[in-house]
């Protein structure tokens, strides 16, 4: 896409987060959407494009009273919203729509108006993974990790350290679910979920949502909020089955999506002031740092241990506390995007002083898909 041709002009999360037993999934989408419209000074009749995952864009448009000329229902898991941003940027540049709303809402914890987790036993995953006892992501997303640890001589302590440092960021965030400091021992002594993963290496399960509104950079200057420009974008997919990843120590979808975004943005790694890497589990930031090219293979754990991604470090990472400590309703990508936008607006609870470029990297499924958005606040 053309650099800085499109900007985020509205961004908000749901009014409440965490446990919201009195709202269904579609209402969480709508609550976030209405908050984002208020942020941008818009009404539903001003929106002419919709994109969402989980719910259908049809359901969303009708519920909000929007008549769109553009609808994107790309649904590839938790990074779907990164792909929606990318597609929206292309659509706006192509004139398919002028003002596009992207929403997420999920009743991950309370399951109000939410669907089940059933999988088709005739699908490839139903045939070749389900019979062996996989349940939810803790028994699938985690499967490559022992190979990664063995390849690079790393340990459970290295996984635990990821959660410890993200909790330090969460402590600065009033909306974070967990704010109390934790130690490596606390993580290793938390209940075993699926060896080598303990509970504190796994994301939260919460209710919530978020929404973004994008328009052309030309129009963005007339909106009430400081525009956050889209500088580069990437996406890719690899496999619906984690057992079929080409390389258990690296995600092909991450590598392809990240490279595309950096190429589009025309930036170097040293230009990046702020980074979000979707952390459904403690190993995701390790894979992300390496596959995006911030660290060489096998070196991300030391990079984190040496506090480069912590408060005061040279590459602030997951500054909202991440899926491990902030919130995770199921498709966390939207919350990573929200934090990047806050950082670019200069209003994040743990604001990185003077940050000008933010990289926001998402994963979908169990290393199935990926999307990367690079933002800047310099028009």
């Amino acid at each position: 896409m053309k650099q800085k041709s499109v900007a985020v002009v509205g961004a908000a999360e749901t009014t409440k987060m965490g446990k919201i037993p009195d709202q269904s999934v579609i209402q969480l989408h709508a609550d976030a959407a209405l908050n984002a419209m208020a942020d941008a000074g818009l009404k539903p009749s001003d929106i002419d494009g919709v994109a969402t995952a989980g719910a259908s864009p049809v359901e969303l448009a009708h519920y909000l009273g929007i008549t769109p000329t553009y609808a994107d229902g790309t649904s590839v898991g938790g990074c779907s919203f990164m792909l929606h941003v990318r597609h929206a940027a292309a659509a706006i540049n192509e004139g398919l729509a002028k003002t596009i709303l992207i929403t997420h809402g999920e009743s991950g914890r309370s399951r109000v108006g939410a669907g089940g987790f059933g999988r088709n036993p005739a699908s490839l995953m139903g045939q070749f993974e389900m019979p062996y006892g996989v349940t939810s992501p803790p028994t699938m997303f985690t499967i490559p990790v022992l190979r990664y640890l063995k390849t690079y001589g790393l340990t459970e302590e290295d996984l635990a350290m990821v959660a410890v440092i993200q909790r330090e960021w969460a402590a600065k965030n009033p909306r974070a679910s967990f704010k109390d400091p934790i130690t490596v021992d606390d993580v290793l002594n938390s209940p075993m979920i699926a060896w080598p993963f303990r509970m504190l290496m796994c994301c939260l399960v919460t209710d919530g949502g978020g929404a973004l509104i994008l328009t052309s950079a030309d129009r963005a200057k007339d909106f009430p909020q400081k525009p956050v420009y889209v500088l580069g974008t990437g996406e890719s997919v690899e496999t619906p089955m984690v057992s079929q990843m080409e390389d258990f120590t690296s995600s092909k979808a991450f590598r392809v999506s990240g490279k595309k975004a950096f190429d589009e943005a025309g930036i170097k790694h040293a230009d990046v002031d702020h980074l979000m890497i979707y952390d459904a589990f403690a190993h995701l930031p390790l894979y992300g740092l390496e596959d995006l090219g911030f660290c060489k293979p096998g070196e991300a754990a030391a990079f984190i241990r040496e506090r480069n991604t912590a408060i005061g470090g040279k590459l602030p990472l997951n500054t909202n506390g991440g899926g491990l400590s902030y919130m995770h309703s199921g498709m966390y990508g939207m919350y990573a995007l929200q934090e990047s936008v806050r950082q670019m607006r200069g209003i994040a609870p743990a604001q990185v002083p003077g940050a000008k470029i933010s990289v926001c990297h998402g994963v979908g499924g169990m290393f199935a898909a990926s999307g990367t958005i690079i933002f800047t606040n310099e028009g």
Partner: protein
């Protein structure tokens, strides 16, 4: 509770029939020789439809795994492995490692494993055990 079992499709029937017959069947491209899994009637390496089914060795190594401490109701009550093996022929495949303690000490990466077919009703699943000898 009954074990969750696969529903074969026309493209995968040979694999599940093979398990019942005590054979681990893979597919290989007759144009580029690439062996692949899961089944499909064309080569994901080069796109050729000229492929053949053959009986694989059933041998491989333990590639990676977790030990699920919260088993699905159909998997019993005890922690159990959910593993990926790397087959001698190249592909990786999800399975359970049986015939040894379900502990990190007993489940060492790269240890040789061999297929053993376990029957559940009308279906046989390819599980793996530590290789004997």
């Amino acid at each position: 509770m009954d074990r969750a079992l696969p529903t074969p499709t026309p493209e995968t029937q040979h694999f599940w029939d093979g398990c019942k017959a005590g054979e681990l069947r893979l597919q290989r491209c007759t144009d580029c020789s690439h062996t692949y899994f899961p089944p499909r009637p064309f080569c994901p390496g080069c796109g050729s439809r000229s492929v053949e089914v053959y009986a694989a060795s059933g041998k491989g190594v333990l590639w990676s795994y977790v030990i699920n401490h919260r088993p699905r109701p159909d998997m019993g009550k005890d922690p159990h492995s959910i593993a990926v093996v790397k087959l001698q022929e190249g592909p990786t495949m999800m399975t359970n490692i049986i015939g040894c303690p379900q502990t990190p000490e007993a489940l060492q990466l790269d240890m040789p494993v061999e297929v053993v077919f376990e029957t559940f009703g009308e279906t046989a699943l390819p599980l793996f055990q530590p290789a004997k000898g």
